[in-house]
């Protein structure tokens, strides 16, 4: 019986892993197979024409980069502050527990709710109209739990000996934070940031009412009434018109570019993550 379970359980685990990897590779294969024919230099550098059936996705790509760049700039200080409060400054277990509950609740909020919240608060109440800044802020709020939890876990995993050695030398808590805790924890911030940004890059619901339009926008010059084009919203609209073969080709091409963007983010940050990991391992 024990011998059988020693065989069956690993086989089941292997099958699940194979299934998950197979689905991922299948998805990537289909998107690449259908999207590659649409990809060329003009597709990347031209702006949208003829309701998406002609032209390219230049401003959609730029708009998506603006949205995730803004989200990144907003989420890094917020997540750092929250993680430090949770892992370093909060003395009471009850405070840490409440902060944890807040993060998990925030993580559970459906993305459309963020969209409605942004629409009511920023678009209507602040009268910003559709704005790239609203989109960036909402995406930052959405990925805040992922980034914060990754950073908290990294801080918790820091060898206690470093903190004791620094405290023993007479360093103040703020000096320990800046000289030990943060430099040793950046890998967590980057890992969480990448996971979050990869999710943010593909989100449509939070930005469709608040930050993005289908056509007629380029680089924003202000905050109010300054929407951007974006890849997820572009894919969302084209998908509704995909019976047209010209549109379908652009749709798969856009999906492939979005996938490549997320993949590129991970690849670009990999050397930094590895270096930080090596340094942290000591």
């Amino acid at each position: 019986m024990r011998r059988a379970s020693n065989v069956i359980f690993p086989a089941l685990c292997g099958f699940c892993a194979f299934l998950a990897c197979g689905l991922l590779f299948g998805l990537v294969f289909v998107i690449a197979q259908r999207g590659l024919p649409a990809i060329n230099w003009r597709f990347i550098t031209e702006e949208i024409r003829q309701v998406g059936s002609e032209g390219g996705i230049f401003y959609n790509l730029i708009g998506t980069l603006i949205l995730i760049g803004t989200a990144c700039l907003v989420v890094v200080p917020l997540a750092t502050g929250l993680a430090l409060t949770h892992a370093v400054y909060a003395r009471k277990a009850s405070t840490r527990s409440r902060l944890g509950l807040f993060l998990y609740t925030l993580n559970g909020i459906p993305s459309i709710v963020f969209g409605i919240f942004g629409f009511i608060v920023f678009v209507k109440y602040f009268n910003w109209g559709k704005s790239w800044l609203t989109g960036g802020l909402l995406l930052a709020l959405m990925i805040l739990p992922t980034v914060t939890v990754a950073l908290i876990e990294r801080i918790k995993a820091l060898p206690r000996k470093y903190l004791e050695a620094a405290t023993g030398l007479g360093l103040r808590q703020s000096q320990i934070v800046w000289s030990i805790i943060l430099p040793q924890s950046w890998s967590g911030l980057i890992t969480g940031g990448l996971l979050g940004l990869a999710r943010a890059a593909g989100e449509t619901a939070p930005i469709m009412f608040t930050a993005t339009i289908f056509a007629g926008a380029s680089i924003p010059h202000g905050v109010r009434e300054s929407p951007v084009l974006s890849l997820p919203y572009h894919i969302f609209i084209l998908a509704q018109d995909s019976f047209d073969p010209a549109v379908a080709a652009k749709l798969w091409g856009s999906a492939l570019v979005l996938l490549a963007l997320v993949f590129a983010l991970s690849i670009l940050a990999l050397p930094l993550r590895l270096r930080l990991h090596d340094e942290a391992q000591g």
Binding site: K161, Y162, E164, A165, T167, G168, L169, G170, A280, G282
Partner: protein, 271 residues
């Protein structure tokens, strides 16, 4: 190694009328309802190597950590009683625990090396504690600390190499140099040679004997021959009803050769 001065059994008639650095009175430590130390009393005098020996679990390291309030890092520890550092209670309102720790360097059992260069490890504490030092001053202090820790000759040509490339014995001396660079008044050592080979142990012991000319040293050790070689005064903690109490505190030779306490004799015989 230099022979140590003889001393008498009773502290009150000790040979040197040295200044008091630490006065520990009725110190007790409890963690989650379990008593770790009970009614510890001791006086540590300037330029003395004060040894603390005793069986595992007797609270030697806890006592050492109470001296510079590193015990604050463990919130479940409840510390009662009084510790005076240079005549002032270390728990008095207005006492800056970080300043206290800067004056009392701590050397851990295992060398704690930051994953950076040898030079940056040496100046790590110094550049935070004494801000505004010039590059030349930092460099000069680092060299002086490394010389004092007898490591300069071994690392002077590779100061910017990773400190992780050093042997464990060299790493421990690097930690000592990092402490010395901050120019502490007292150095607290928690079994600093327990992870070292005999050669590195001898080097650290030699350093302890040299350093006591300028610093007061409190040394926790399991190694009785080491206590004999380097300490001036020895406190032996023993377990009584699960808590550490000072069974005997006297001149090193008196504790090791002429102890009147049964628990101490048992510890020395059976370790």
């Amino acid at each position: 190694m230099k022979p140590k001065d003889n001393c008498l059994l009773d502290e009150s008639v000790s040979t040197a009328p040295a200044r008091e650095i630490f006065r520990i009175s009725n110190l007790s430590v409890v963690a989650r309802g379990k008593s770790i130390l009970r009614n510890v009393n001791a006086v540590i005098k300037a330029n003395q190597v004060f040894g603390i020996i005793g069986p595992s679990g007797a609270g030697k390291s806890t006592l050492l950590r109470c001296l510079n309030r590193l015990s604050d890092l463990t919130p479940e520890l409840e510390v009662t009683g009084s510790i005076e550092y240079r005549g002032r209670s270390i728990n008095a309102p207005g006492i800056d625990a970080d300043a206290l720790r800067a004056s009392t360097g701590f050397l851990f059992q295992q060398p704690v090396i930051f994953p950076t260069s040898i030079y940056k490890n040496v100046i790590f504490g110094l550049r935070h504690i004494r801000r505004g030092l010039s590059f030349a001053q930092l460099r000069e202090t680092a060299e002086s600390a490394l010389r004092e820790a007898a490591l300069w000759e071994e690392v002077k040509v590779r100061l910017h190499d990773s400190a992780l490339t050093l042997s464990v014995g060299q790493q421990q001396r690097l930690c000592l140099a990092r402490v010395l660079a901050t120019q502490p008044d007292v150095i607290l050592m928690d079994e600093p040679t327990s992870a070292l080979d005999p050669k590195s142990t001898a080097a650290i012991e030699e350093l302890i004997l040299q350093l006591k000319a300028r610093h007061t040293i409190v040394l926790v050790t399991h190694n009785v021959p080491q206590a004999r070689r380097v300490t001036d005064w020895l406190a032996c903690l023993c377990l009584r009803d699960g808590a550490g109490e000072i069974a005997e505190s006297a001149c090193c030779d008196a504790v090791l050769t002429n102890s009147q306490c049964r628990e101490v004799i048992e510890y020395l015989n059976h370790g």
